[in-house]
């Protein structure tokens, strides 16, 4: 159970500050709300190196069930700090919270969102020397496309998007159109994420994953609209929808099937399908917002997660490959029994990754998505 909207009420002080800022903001028409780079913190960051040492409680902002809670407990114990956890259920939701002035110490953006945040000076540039355990990170991430200096993000996990399904309930054919199977009518969910839905649609209509051609997006939108009568809902909570039995077919992410299997009585009934028309791939990152209050604790936490033993345990819990030599053997074990959930670094090099669409592209996709939801 979680809520994206109510877990973090606006603090009174922030509201008052917003009020005080109003007169100024109105006077300076053209200035953005929350578009100022987080000034003071950034200056401090440049002036002195932030050490990977706890400097307060960790305000942690992640997907739900995406990191072993036992590791969080152990981190709290080792460093004598609290981890204050809240969850987002989409990248847009994460961004909205950041932009409305909430301060977090650690966030988990996907690569394309990390790139946007970095370009907008919203991510803390950290001193790589502070992280002792990054030696195991794959070479691919020495200069990733979304963070060429590799000092604003650390890769957390690789993922692929496809379809999770109940092997005891439905016969799959390997296509994205399995989302329209009548055998799971009313038991099918699409991800509540405009990139994932329109991206999958783009593959189905033969377009590029990140197409910005309005004709492609129109076709992709129509594909989603045609699916709608068969759906039970839009949700990013693929784990709980499957565990609770409401979903037999769920547009979702590869590793989540491992998490589902950990929670159900008959794990053999749950599987993941990569779809033949195209496979969206991505990287989730660890990053520290530029206005973080406790960047030292955040760095210590990142280093803690990178410890090979901790990473291995985390992989067993959440089911996604972490791109670190050593812990990847744990994932190799998981994949031995279920190759369908594998994502390799070569896939990432050659495959289709979500990219930032730019303002106009985002607008095009957003508008199509709003129509899909409103219909």
């Amino acid at each position: 159970m979680r809520s994206d909207y109510f877990d973090e009420p606006l603090r009174r002080r922030e509201l008052l500050q917003g009020g005080a800022g109003l007169a100024l903001a109105l006077g300076l028409a053209g200035c953005g709300v929350g578009d100022e780079p987080a000034g003071s913190t950034k200056k401090v960051a440049k002036a002195k190196v932030i050490k990977a040492q706890p400097d307060g409680d960790l305000v942690y902002f992640n997907w739900a069930e995406y990191l072993d809670p036992k590791l969080i407990k152990e981190f709290e114990k080792r460093y004598g700090v609290k981890v204050r956890e809240s969850n987002f259920d989409s990248m847009n939701g994460m961004m909205a919270k950041l932009r409305s002035g909430n301060r977090y110490d650690l966030i988990f953006p996907t690569a394309d969102w990390a790139q946007r945040l970095r370009a907008g000076n919203q991510l803390l540039r950290f001193d790589k020397e502070q992280l002792k355990n990054t030696g195991t990170v794959y070479d691919y991430f020495a200069k990733p496309w979304y963070d060429p200096t590799a000092d604003h993000t650390v890769p957390y996990a690789l993922y692929a998007s496809g379809i999770l399904y109940r092997t005891d309930k439905v016969e799959m054919t390997g296509s994205w159109n399995d989302l329209a199977l009548d055998s799971a009518r009313g038991k099918t969910y699409l991800l509540d994420d405009y990139q994932e839905v329109l991206g999958a649609g783009n593959f189905v209509v033969g377009a590029d994953l990140n197409s910005k051609d309005p004709a492609d997006i129109e076709k992709s939108k129509q594909w989603a609209l045609d699916l709608k009568p068969k759906l039970r809902g839009f949700s990013t909570d693929d784990i709980q929808n499957l565990v609770g039995g409401n979903a037999w077919i769920h547009h979702g992410w590869n590793g989540d099937v491992v998490n589902v299997r950990n929670q159900v009585k008959k794990p053999e009934n749950y599987s993941f399908q990569k779809c033949s028309e195209g496979l969206p791939l991505g990287t989730d990152c660890l990053a520290i917002p530029a206005n973080a209050e406790h960047p030292g604790t955040a760095l210590a936490f990142i280093d803690f997660i990178l410890e090979p033993e901790n990473a291995s345990r985390n992989i067993e819990y959440m089911g996604y490959p972490m791109p670190y030599t050593g812990p990847d053997e744990t994932f190799a074990e998981l994949v031995k029994t279920d190759p369908s959930i594998n994502v390799k670094i070569e896939d990432l090099e050659n495959g289709d990754q979500f990219r930032d669409l730019g303002a106009d592209g985002r607008r095009l996709w957003d508008d199509a998505w709003t129509e899909i939801k409103a219909a």
């Binding site: 159970m1 809520s3 994206d4 909207y5 109510f6 509201l15 008052l16 917003g18 009020g19 109003l22 903001a25 109105l26 300076l28 028409a29 053209g30 200035c31 953005g32 709300v33 929350g34 578009d35 989409s90 847009n92 939701g93 961004m95 909205a96 950041l98 932009r99 409305s100 946007r116 945040l117 907008g120 919203q122 009313g186 699409l190 509540d192 405009y194 709608k228 009568p229 759906l231 039970r232 809902g233 839009f234 609770g244 039995g245 409401n246 303002a359 985002r362 607008r363 957003d366 998505w369 709003t370 129509e371 939801k373 409103a374 219909a375």
Partner: protein, 280 residues
């Protein structure tokens, strides 16, 4: 202004400041946002973009408006059907337990609406408590349809109907009913010609108190609804948390408030007329 008035006037200061800080100022921000344009990193750039308003009248959003109003009307009707008898019973036959019974009506409100809605999910999901008790091979699909949304709204706002209706019934002099009966009115005609008109202002207040939050609600549709139960509240929420389009979300909010304001004014005028008639 005499001294007494000035003294009484001071009582308005805390509430006035509160309204200024938490209603007037945020409202001005929302209006300013509604003429803005989305920023590169979400958020908004202020400016003059009235197209946010013209977009709201795009026919693709018409189903959302009709759906929201439809759900809210159904919610009001059900709340009235369920709430009036409860209020009637408590007011007329509650006796010395009246206050306990009213406290029981209010009790669920000690728990946040969101939490109560989640509780409905836990109770009614396919493998939830109710289906567990029923024990059918094919679980009943209670959730993710319009009925679940309306049910959630009724559950969420029922007390807003019961309380004003109860207050109206409680104020009503029971002798009026006896008088109706003395004039050979049947139970039903006494109710229809005496009790109902006397308590109508309470019903109207309850209707407004239920309708206004229900039509703008997004929690019920979000948690209990399906793909086809999108309401205005969801559309607005989507603009802020899903589409990085705060300005359009703000424009929808302003239009929504204008729409609700019309109903509020109609209600206030009716209430004012009724109280004039009562004192006349």
């Amino acid at each position: 202004m005499n001294a007494g008035d000035r003294f009484a006037g001071r009582f308005l200061i805390p509430g006035g400041l509160w309204l200024l800080a938490f209603f007037a100022v945020p409202f001005v921000i929302v209006v300013a946002l509604s003429f803005g344009t989305p920023g590169e990193l979400g958020g908004a750039l202020y400016g003059w973009y009235p197209e946010n308003y013209s977009r709201a009248f795009d026919p693709v959003f018409l189903p959302v408006l009709l759906r929201s109003v439809g759900y809210a009307v159904a919610t009001v009707a059900l709340c009235l059907a369920l709430g009036y008898p409860v209020a009637y019973y408590i007011a007329r036959f509650g006796g010395r337990h009246k206050h306990v019974l009213i406290a029981l009506v209010v009790m669920p409100f000690f728990v946040n609406y969101l939490v109560r809605t989640y509780a409905m999910v836990a109770l009614l999901s396919d493998e939830g408590v109710v289906n567990g008790v029923l024990g059918l091979d094919d679980p009943v699909r209670f959730l993710n349809n319009p009925f679940a949304v309306i049910g959630g709204l009724v559950y969420g706002y029922l007390a807003f109907m019961i309380l004003p209706v109860y207050a109206a019934l409680d104020r009503m002099d029971p002798a009026l009913i006896e008088a109706g009966k003395d004039l050979y009115g049947s139970d039903w005609s006494t109710f229809w010609h005496v009790t109902w008109p006397t308590t109508f202002q309470g019903v109207l207040a309850g209707t407004v108190l239920v309708f206004l939050p229900a039509v703008g609600d997004f929690v019920a549709a979000q948690l209990l609804g399906g793909p086809g139960t999108y309401m205005i509240g969801n559309l607005i929420q989507q603009q802020f948390f899903g589409a990085e389009n705060w300005p359009f979300g703000a424009a929808l909010t302003v239009l929504m408030m204008a729409f609700l304001f019309v109903w509020m004014v109609l209600y206030l005028r009716s209430a004012a007329r009724a109280s004039q008639e009562a004192t006349a």
